[in-house]
């Protein structure tokens, strides 16, 4: 599952890597944003030159002005907050269930035999196919949306936790036993840290799915949220708001990814593959 071998052997110390000069650090921080900036500039220019019709795509400056207006009216933050809360609640519910079952199945053969096949079967159902079922079960409300988000993040976190725990170097487990570690200690000091790189892979995958499902769930039937904002805007042909909400989804996704990455760098500092460059 993970590209990281817990038993890696690297002979050069990560701390010994020569540090980049300051200007190069600054450059490598900003360079990734060069392309998006150029695209926005080109888009703006193309729009002014009449190459891109504002009926099809509003100008970035127009989107920005609209964003400012919505921000001042408080509307933007309300929708953003509702969406973020939904995403995080769904992630917390589905993620912790997937994590718990993944641990249980990774640690206990009996639990894995009992539940893994079932989970794998359910996993193959496209999540969006569950929408009608969710609506019948929970109605067109908040519970339905949370259900869809939670179930979508459940699987990647479950699978990667399960495989992470399973694939912990058996030699390390044997060492722990030989050195008298209790089951608890063995889990805390060997199995869990060994599974962590894989769990992070699952988390990042889950975050991607989370936004994806959230968009669909919010465009279906909601009274607030980014998806709702976009649907409302479509009704009134407010192209700038539609584009704005798409951009905000991209921004939120990027933000979630950056937070995970920062956590990863901290938690997996021991691993040369994750050491900060």
């Amino acid at each position: 599952m993970t590209a990281v071998d817990p038993n890696f052997r690297v002979d050069t110390p990560p701390a010994g890597r020569p540090r980049m000069p300051r200007w190069r650090v600054r450059l490598s921080t900003w360079l990734p944003f060069l392309l998006p900036a150029l695209i926005l500039l080109g888009w703006e220019a193309g729009s002014h030159l009449g190459l891109i019709s504002t009926q099809i795509l509003p100008r970035p400056s127009a989107v920005l002005t609209k964003a400012w207006g919505l921000l001042l009216s408080g509307e933007l933050l309300t929708h953003l907050g509702v969406s973020a809360l939904r995403a995080l609640t769904g992630l917390a519910i589905g993620g912790s269930l997937g994590f718990a079952l993944g641990l249980a199945n990774g640690l206990s053969e009996r639990s894995a035999i009992l539940t893994d096949t079932t989970v794998q079967m359910i996993r193959n159902i496209p999540i969006l196919a569950l929408i009608p079922l969710a609506i019948i079960w929970f109605g067109v409300g908040e519970v339905s949306r949370l259900f869809l988000v939670a179930i979508s993040v459940f699987f990647p976190i479950y699978i990667n936790t399960y495989h992470g725990v399973r694939n912990v170097d058996p030699q390390l487990i044997e060492m722990g036993r030989a050195y008298g570690m209790s089951r608890r200690t063995l889990f805390r000091r060997v199995s869990f840290p060994g599974a962590l790189p894989s769990i992070f892979v699952g988390l990042r995958y889950a975050l991607g799915l989370m936004w994806f499902v959230l968009v669909v769930a919010e465009t279906l039937a909601a009274k607030a949220g980014l998806g709702y904002m976009a649907m409302q805007a479509r009704e009134f042909m407010m192209l700038d708001v539609v584009v704005l909400s798409i951009l905000l989804y991209a921004l939120l996704g990027k933000l979630a990814d950056m937070i995970t990455r920062a956590l990863e760098v901290r938690a997996l500092a021991w691993n040369p593959a994750y050491a900060r460059h």
């Binding site: 890696f8 690297v10 002979d11 990560p14 722990g176 030989a178 000091r189 840290p193 997996l268 500092a269």
Partner: protein, 251 residues
């Protein structure tokens, strides 16, 4: 530093048999290892050396017969029996000092555990590496950390399963000296499994050849330390042991 006769454990195997399914790996093995003795076990790959060490350290139970360390079952000895593997088996996510502390029985104050771990690191001559990640160490340094982890609980029996097998020849010689030195200082009973007969002869008081689950030959190395590598008596004993290993292979 310490009186050997007081700190080394005495190990007894009587009628020990170990089978995996229909595969009999050890058959009716009788062996006594004196307190403070340095015993080496050699033999062809798959002859049951690792299995024997697993029985001695309580990681596995004999199918028949009895293994005792100072009269007790080996698993009962908290921290008194330690096993060192061919691979360092360090926790990659723990610093060097925390890896050494893995060898301490649970409990005790943090400061105390730290002090004991520091002392063990000093003993294996690895200064200034306490806070490093294992990934930043060389193979030899990692095996030193593994040795410190095995020594930190002051075991009375140390079993070593080809601990130097993965190291380059030069590092291996340095590590052999280190093992002899900590053995002399701490006075534990040492049981070394090795595929290097020269290593067995250079380090131990007695060498046994394991074959088909039994002790095929036993050679006492009655030379004082330090032993010079080129000593003709060592060469003769080495040849005798090699003969024993291969003679059995022909019939």
């Amino acid at each position: 530093m310490l009186d050997t006769s007081q700190t080394g454990a005495e190990v007894r195997l009587s009628g020990v048999e170990k089978t995996f399914g229909t595969n009999t790996v050890l058959s009716r093995l009788d062996l006594t290892i004196r307190s403070g003795e340095f015993l080496s076990i050699v033999g062809k790959s798959g002859c049951g050396k690792s299995t024997l060490l697993r029985l001695l350290t309580g990681l596995d139970q004999p199918t028949r017969g009895e293994v005792t360390v100072d009269g007790h079952a080996p698993a009962d000895q908290r921290g008194e029996v330690r096993l060192m593997f061919q691979e360092p088996r360090l926790l990659p996510w723990a610093s060097v000092i925390d890896n050494v502390a893995v060898g301490l029985p649970e409990g005790g104050t943090l400061a105390n555990r730290r002090a004991q771990a520091e002392a063990a690191l000093a003993e294996v001559q690895l200064p200034g590496k306490a806070q490093d990640w294992p990934a930043s160490l060389s193979g030899g340094q990692r095996q030193r950390v593994a040795l410190a982890r095995a020594l930190v609980s002051r075991p009375r029996l140390l079993a070593l399963d080809e601990p130097l097998g993965a190291l380059d020849a030069l590092t291996r010689l340095v590590m052999q000296d280190l093992i002899l030195q900590v053995k002399r200082d701490d006075g534990f009973t040492a049981i070394l499994v090795t595929h290097d007969v020269a290593e067995a002869v250079a380090l131990s008081d007695r060498v046994i050849v394991l074959d088909a689950g039994r002790v095929a030959k036993e050679v006492v190395i009655d030379l004082p330390h330090p032993r010079s590598k080129g000593h003709p008596r060592l060469a003769a004993l080495e040849a005798e042991i090699l003969d024993a290993i291969f003679a059995k292979g022909r019939d």
